[in-house]
Subunit: 420 residues, 2 copies
């Protein structure tokens, strides 16, 4: 059985590699035609899709899936519209493939161009949200990559239905169906098999919880781009404008607490703790935020729970804040570099020297001076789209957009040059 699954995954990857060869030279037009066809077919096929999704939701409900997860799994006409809109927006973005990174002419007359080319075959392993199927496939297709999608087993009917719509769109545009493959078996053996196909698959992008990401990192012989947790900090320095600090610390925690660029831990300079915290904490309480803190914060404010040692490294992804009082910007930087997840961290200060120190020394994908961490996002940064936020340092760091779904190639034009 699991041998059959391994062969099936291998055949899909071989077909994907062949399709990637077609996409590499297809140019922009058929890719955009396919994306627009998918948008139309998705709206036309909405009833069938919602029916398939209802099966998944019913099975997950029976199996006792938590409410928040069930909500992520459930498709609605509004969510379908958002997917349709997303496909149209991706079609309208510029094509990153073929764009020039740099060019130079050597003394011997050789003309070098470094141009963006698709990565090739991208494997995406993700959890419950079926809209990731469309988001990921559209961004990979736009950048000229073939995609192998392996969603959560609880969404398998939804994903298979979406895969059929996507492949119909590819057919309409004259592109190979294998440009996007949804692996339709819920068997975990399919993931294990996929992760070993390093001669066929160029990169694996896991999207999901920490457990999924660890599993992929430990079992993949294919390069992985990690989209791991966001344990983001806001540090309020001694010289901060306290009204600005309160607004940013409130926004970073409350505006959308379940996402990776939301603030989890608040660091406050001891000189301004008394002036800042009572007002900010009152706003937090009003918004339903649970307050936790170190001993100094607890001494300042009643009803604050303690933060356990391990919690300083954690992502709450919820209306909970953990606050700590520090003696200096250096202590704040050291805390963030020790416990943070290298995602997004902010300093609020009027002191330019402290700000520049923080921006330089905090080793995170995005560092902010006087702004909310919630801006770390491909759309917000003006990159047009994103497939996720990379928390690793290789290849892509921070919002991963179309250009980051490309590799490069050196094109060298000569007139007979040989090496002496």
């Amino acid at each position: 059985m699991s041998t059959d699954i391994a062969s099936m995954v291998k055949e899909a990857a071989q077909a994907a590699k062949a399709a990637a060869g077609v996409l590499r030279s297809a140019g922009r037009a058929p890719k955009d035609r396919a994306l627009l066809a998918m948008a139309r077919l998705l709206k036309e096929g909405q009833a069938g899709l919602l029916e398939a999704n209802a099966k998944d939701v019913a099975a997950a409900g029976k199996a006792g899936m938590a409410k928040a997860m069930l909500e992520r799994l459930t498709l609605t006409p509004a969510k379908v519209d958002a997917m349709v809109q997303g496909l149209r927006e991706v079609a309208a973005l510029p094509d990153p493939a073929g764009s020039l990174v740099e060019s130079r002419e050597l003394a011997n007359g050789l003309k070098l161009s470094k141009v963006r080319v698709p990565l090739g075959v991208v494997g995406i392993i993700y959890e419950s949200r079926p809209n990731v199927t469309v988001d990921a496939a559209s961004l990979c297709l736009k950048s000229g990559n073939a995609t192998i999608l392996r969603g959560g087993s609880e969404a398998v009917n939804s994903n298979v239905a979406l895969g059929a719509i996507i492949q119909a769109g590819l057919r309409e545009a004259g592109l190979p169906e294998a440009a996007v493959t949804v692996i339709g078996t819920p068997d975990r053996a399919a993931v294990n098999a996929l992760l070993k196909l390093d001669s066929l698959v160029d990169v694996i992008i896991p999207r999901g919880g920490h457990g999924l990401i660890r599993f992929v990192l430990e079992n993949s012989s294919i390069p992985v781009i990690r989209h791991d947790i966001g344990n983001c900090h806001v540090y309020v320095d001694a010289s901060a404008d306290l009204k600005m600090a309160e607004d940013i610390a409130f926004n970073a925690k409350v505006q959308r607490p379940g996402v990776c660029n939301a603030m989890e831990h608040l660091l406050v300079h001891e000189k301004v703790a008394k002036a800042l915290l009572p007002g900010l904490f009152a706003r937090y309480r009003q918004a339903g935020v649970e307050l936790r803190g170190d001993a100094a914060v607890q001494a300042l404010e009643k009803g604050v729970k303690p933060v356990a040692e391990g919690e300083w490294s954690e992502e709450y992804l919820d209306l909970i804040v953990g606050a700590k009082i520090v003696a200096s910007v250096d202590e704040a930087i050291a805390h963030i570099n020790t416990y943070g997840s290298q995602h997004s961290d902010a300093i609020i200060t009027a002191d330019a020297a402290n700000a520049e120190k923080f921006l330089e020394q905090v080793d995170s994908a995005a560092v902010y001076w006087n702004a909310s961490t919630r801006f770390t996002d491909g759309y917000e940064f003006g990159l047009g789209a994103e497939i996720g936020i990379s928390t690793q340092k290789l290849h892509a760091r921070g919002p991963m957009a179309l250009e980051e779904l490309c590799s490069v190639k050196w094109v060298v034009r000569g007139t007979g040059q040989v090496r002496g």
Copy 2:
């Protein structure tokens, strides 16, 4: 015992991570001072170094190491001078850390800069040549990275001696010794332990044979940048200038056959095979090149050995050429994409349409029109230096220079912006 080694490697990695924090904010001056101090100390310490190296060479000779490998292992005053010169050249190169990749201002007033920052801690696993110790350490230091070096067990005395010189240079410049650590145990357990430290080490660069690279890929939970084999091709098209084709095919094979950008396989359009091959093969024979070919080549030229099927994927790294006659540029492209190693491939043609098709469709790190594959090199490309040639698509492709030893960071400067 192997637990002790694992703890020793972990402690070294923790110290390297702390040193990387110092290097991140050190600026250019102390890094260059350290490199120049190393150059001086290396020359001053030459006698002791050659003594340590002689121990390695004697032991390897006793153990029956092949002559070519022994030559790579053996240090000489000339090789020491080359290392000294290399250190001075790296000191003179611009500092990639802190340089701007792009900047933008958003409608909400946020100012974004994407700047290069060091990767952090780089692990390098390599085989017999001790000069890699100095080359790799100097490029990593220049780009602000801490380095953990694990050379071949047969070079352990040489590498430990080099490590002492490098650390003395770091001390002179006031930088932490742990910025460069040579793992001095020949025990393989040290490699296994290193490959699992993904919370401390940011990237692993293996340099060596295919076996070493497979081992690292299969056992590392740290991202790997692969520097794999170069099975490079020259394709002579129907419209090629045959004098140019002969010179390039000769240069690409003969000028330095033991390196990864040398040509291994020659593809010739059937229309020009008779006009090209006799003259080219005569030059090859004179240079001591062993001729191998497919049936059509064998029919054209006496004394050509057959190429076995598996050989089309192989890197000879020697004075051997495998030639094949093809019917079209498409057949050449398909052959290269099937059997090549995505390193460097050239087309020789006067037909611009065929050339552009080849440059676009051949999926290799460097593609050439009318020039020798031997130019794929960081110095030749004008990048100042190289730590190797990446044959993968993620992060770095082709010559990997100082910029490719960096990651990026988004620096966002605001005036109190929050997300709505």
